[in-house]
């Protein structure tokens, strides 16, 4: 068409005008660290696996999850999910039920029979793992993934360590535990049960191990110096919980007093309740000072367990205890008041913490032991080259998740050490804090709560208390994730740019700025729901 000069123009010809030259600052994409990931002691990429779960691709989600933690079904039950406390969604309505989705994924994997990914090739190195608890099993798993041969020594007759002996079955059914343990063993881990290592150096030498990871746990119950009559029945919590796994259930009597304020104390009390007893927890401080997780205490109280606050046990008799009342001083420490009372008790269970049996380390040079635990470096290696340690036997918070995290970290460092390299953890990214988000874009979606077992059955049976989400609930819950700090391809930047200066690269490939046209208005940053874009001053 012969077009009139100047008045009539060819379509889209403004592409010749590069408005990017107007810009004084430019948007750039970045990946921030989501608070949940930052918080996870096991180092899970929580947001990463939720992403797959959101589209219903549970197997991918599970595979993504198990890159860091091979025990989602266990985690989904016993992890204290501090990630949820860190979850930004908590400031919006309620945190994402990360733990419940993990629970679902773990169960789904067991139901579907998904197997862990075996190593692509064998390294020829041989690593000794001592202890089949969460830390040792986690290390065994990760070391296998690196292609190293793993031989695992366990003093006891079964795998699981504290996951078995420290956690009652109403919280973690044993078939679940065994299935997830077996799945690791199936990767080619040589397991030696009932094989206590007494001398680590000797065992390593005999087995020609290239490195060792020790995770023997803390199994020796602490005994308080309580004057007790001969007839008084006193048992430590770990022994009690361990005996629950055997054929002969302990005889505790009707009135069971549990002394302590940690999670173990609660576990013991709830176990006793299920055995028909009337447990009473005696704790020297107040509820808000109690180290046990509040939800556990709450569940215990629901089940009819009583707690006697601000009390210490002074003396144990055959069927009673002498209690001294305490008062908190200005610093919050309990101080004796000199006021006494007597309570009836058929047995006393001490849940005052555990010590580590460090016997196997005797004679190992260069070790440093402080407060009954072995010091390790940032690479989880003890003072003796080639011997690494983790879990409850090193200075750290003692729980399953921390132990699993230790196992993973240690495995990475062992792998590096075996290659003569140093494993360098990725640089910590800046955290996607709540203020980086534009939460308008998230639909209102209150948390889905997992079903709870009815109270009568909780009081009388060892059936699992907390049920699982069904598929639709798990999907819903996964989709509540805000994807803090990481692009989830919501297309907002692509849509809101008045200059079409965002190029959409297609599913899975995210976006790219076209700086030829980007004027630097910053709308993409302001309207990014998850804080995955930031403005940077243009160098002029």
């Amino acid at each position: 068409m012969e077009k009139p000069f100047a008045i009539t123009l060819d379509p889209g010809s403004s592409l010749a005008n590069h408005t990017g030259s107007w810009r004084t600052s430019r948007p750039v994409y970045l990946d921030r660290l989501p608070p949940c990931n930052k918080q996870c002691p096991a180092g899970e990429d929580i947001q990463g696996w939720l992403f797959h779960a959101e589209s219903g691709d549970y197997e991918s989600a599970w595979r993504h999850l198990t890159k860091d933690n091979p025990f989602p079904a266990i985690m989904g039950r016993v992890c204290y999910h501090t990630c949820e406390g860190a979850c930004n969604r908590g400031q919006l309505d309620a945190p994402v039920g990360i733990n419940s989705v993990e629970h679902f994924l773990g169960d789904e994997a067991l139901k579907q029979g998904w197997k862990l990914t075996p190593p692509a090739s064998e390294s020829g190195k041989h690593v000794l793992v001592v202890g089949a608890g969460p830390s040792g099993m986690s290390a065994a798993y990760h070391l296998r993934r690196f292609g190293h041969s793993v031989t695992l020594y366990e003093a006891g007759p079964l795998l699981g360590g504290m996951m078995r002996f420290g956690i009652p079955k109403y919280r973690l059914p044993r078939d679940i535990l065994e299935a997830e343990m077996q799945r690791v063993v199936d990767l080619g881990v040589t397991v030696k049960l009932n094989s206590k290592v007494d001398n680590i150096l000797k065992t390593m030498e005999e087995g020609k191990f290239d490195a060792a990871f020790l995770a023997v746990g803390a199994h020796i119950g602490k005994r308080a110096m309580i004057p007790a009559g001969d007839a008084a029945k006193i048992i430590d919590a770990i022994s009690l919980l361990r005996s629950m796994e055997g054929e002969d259930k302990p005889l505790l009597g009707r009135r069971v007093v549990v002394y302590g304020g940690g999670n173990t104390a609660i576990d013991v009390a709830r176990t006793a309740k299920r055995m028909g007893a009337e447990p009473l927890i005696v704790y020297r401080r107040t509820r808000d000072k109690m180290p046990a997780h509040d939800f556990e205490l709450e569940e215990a109280l629901q089940e009819g367990i009583m707690v006697k606050w601000l009390s210490t046990i002074k003396q144990a008799h055959e069927s009673s205890l002498t209690i001294e009342k305490m008062a908190l001083d200005s610093k919050g420490f309990p101080q004796p008041t000199g006021e006494f009372e007597t309570i009836e008790a058929d047995s006393l269970v001490l849940a005052l913490g555990q010590d580590v049996d460090l016997g196997l380390l005797e004679g190992v040079p260069g070790l440093k032991v402080t407060d009954g635990v072995v010091e390790v470096g940032p690479n989880m290696m003890t003072g003796y080259a080639g011997i690494f340690a983790g879990g409850d036997m090193v200075p750290a918070e003692r729980n399953v998740t921390v132990g699993i995290g230790h196992g993973k970290q240690a495995a990475r460092h062992i792998d590096g050490w075996l290659r003569g390299e140093q494993y360098l953890p990725p640089v910590q990214r800046e955290v996607a804090t709540f203020d980086k988000l534009n939460t308008w874009y998230y639909a209102d979606a209150p948390k889905t709560v997992r079903p709870m077992l009815d109270i009568i059955r909780r009081q009388s049976t060892f059936d699992e208390v907390q049920g699982a989400l069904d598929e639709s609930n798990a999907l819903f819950e996964a989709r509540r994730c805000l994807s803090c700090g990481n692009c989830f391809e919501c297309d907002n930047c692509y849509g809101v740019c008045p200059d079409n200066a965002v190029i959409k690269l297609g599913p899975g490939n995210r976006f790219q700025f076209n700086y030829d046209y980007c004027k630097g208005c910053g709308m993409c940053v302001a309207e990014c729901p998850c804080g995955a874009i930031k403005m940077e001053a243009e160098e002029i």
């Binding site: 068409m1 077009k3 009139p4 008045i7 009539t8 060819d10």
Partner: protein, 417 residues
């Protein structure tokens, strides 16, 4: 086919024969009968495939025309007087965008004071709008010019205004020869736009143009009118070949060969002038007439050629450039540049004032005698004017001039109004 019909209706029939596709209508006297006729023809199905749109103003009429023409539809509208002024912005826009719209202007005076009768002030106010402006002398020519106008507009991609004197032509019943559809189809091919809004070949029409290209755009508008200057006579010839009639062209000459005095004029008054000239010729006066058909583009060369042997020129025009005198005269005088002859401007027939042969004969005789001034207002009532001027000189609050003068004339006092 010969028929006795009203000028407006003849035009409506001609437009209908041109197969218009969109017609916009807004009523204003004396143009109304044209669109009324067209509306009826469209509604009755006599004109097929045509949208007749009753718009809410002349501004909208021209705007609808712009839209439809830019979309490739043969588009027609009609207006007059105040209506033309109300659409003025769109009038300039249509030509600026090069859209071949055809519009009839039933020439009428412009207020205030409001006046519905004929003169040329409305059309001439748009002389620089970029439109081609053709003036019809008779109803037959008005009819013929519309057929030529569509062809001309579409050839040069410019809008064309066909001007015909309000009431004098629009409302006059005369015998006209209405061509057949076959004849019109033979002359006027379907509209083939130079630019069109088309989803299969998108363009942006109506860009903002700055100093870097604006002069060039305006020059090109001028160049297109210069092309029209060459095209108009050719179309008149083609028209004659098909329809067998002399119609259109740039100018009409009458008894010019030996004329010492030449009267220049536009529109229907040419008929009265020719009658007067005939009388004077009979009395031995060497007088002739030059009728301007194409006012824009203005045929400078033709006018100059027509005048070069004359001794004096009387431009009789139905328009007044307040503050200087003539409008048409300015252009005629430009054509006379360098010629040694006397030029006279006569403003006549404003607001429908009758131009009589008697007055014309006296006027021309005066010109021949060399007694005519440069600027003459034909048949002006000096009594009324002088009274009003006196009133304004002596009284601060002299009141509205028009109403005062009507009182002087006695119209109000006698209860006519």
């Amino acid at each position: 086919m010969l028929k006795q019909t009203e000028g407006s209706h003849a035009v409506a029939e001609a437009v209908g024969l041109c197969r218009p596709e969109v017609i916009c209508a807004y009523p204003i006297s004396p143009q109304t009968h044209i669109v009324e006729g067209l509306g009826e023809m469209v509604k009755a199905g006599e004109i097929q495939d045509c949208e007749f749109i009753n718009v809410e103003s002349e501004f909208a009429a021209m705007s609808v025309a712009i839209g439809s023409s830019a979309t490739g539809a043969r588009t027609y509208t009609a207006t007059a007087s105040q209506g033309l002024l109300f659409m003025a912005e769109a009038v300039y826009n249509a030509s600026g965008l090069g859209l071949p719209i055809v519009m009839t202007v039933a020439n009428r005076a412009i207020g205030a004071p409001i006046n519905i009768w004929n003169d040329h002030t409305d059309a001439l106010s748009q002389r620089d709008s970029g439109w081609i402006q053709l003036f019809a002398e008779t109803n037959q020519e008005a009819l013929d010019l519309h057929i030529q106008a569509f062809k001309l507009a579409e050839e040069v991609s410019l809008p064309v205004m066909v001007c015909m004197d309000g009431f004098i032509l629009t409302h006059a019943y005369e015998r006209v020869d209405v061509p057949t559809q076959e004849q019109v189809d033979a002359f006027l091919p379907p509209y083939e736009p130079r630019q069109v809004l088309d989803p299969t070949d998108p363009v942006s029409i109506g860009a903002m143009v700055g100093p870097e290209a604006f002069s060039e755009v305006r020059y090109l508008a001028h160049a297109k009118q210069m092309q029209a200057l060459e095209l108009i006579p050719r179309l008149a010839e083609q028209f004659k070949a098909v329809f067998g009639r002399d119609s259109g062209g740039l100018t009409h000459s009458y008894l010019l060969d030996d004329a010492e005095t030449v009267v220049v004029a536009m529109g229907s008054v040419l008929g009265t002038i020719k009658d007067t000239v005939d009388e004077m010729r009979a009395a031995g006066e060497k007088i002739g007439v030059l009728g301007i058909t194409s006012y824009r583009p203005f045929p400078l060369d033709n006018v100059r050629a027509a005048l070069q042997n004359a001794q004096r020129v009387v431009v009789l025009e139905k328009s007044l450039a307040v503050g200087i005198g003539g409008v048409l005269s300015t252009d005629v005088r430009m054509a006379m540049s360098g010629l040694q002859l006397h030029g006279h401007t006569v403003v006549a027939g404003l607001g429908g004032r009758a131009i009589t042969r008697k007055s014309l004969r006296a006027l021309f005789a005066k010109a021949v005698r060399g007694e005519l001034g440069h600027l003459t207002f034909l048949d002006l009532d000096w009594n009324v004017v002088n009274k009003q001027l006196e009133r304004e000189r002596t009284t601060r609050r002299s009141g509205p001039a028009a109403e005062s003068m009507l009182r002087d004339i006695g119209v109000i006092a006698t209860g006519i109004v």
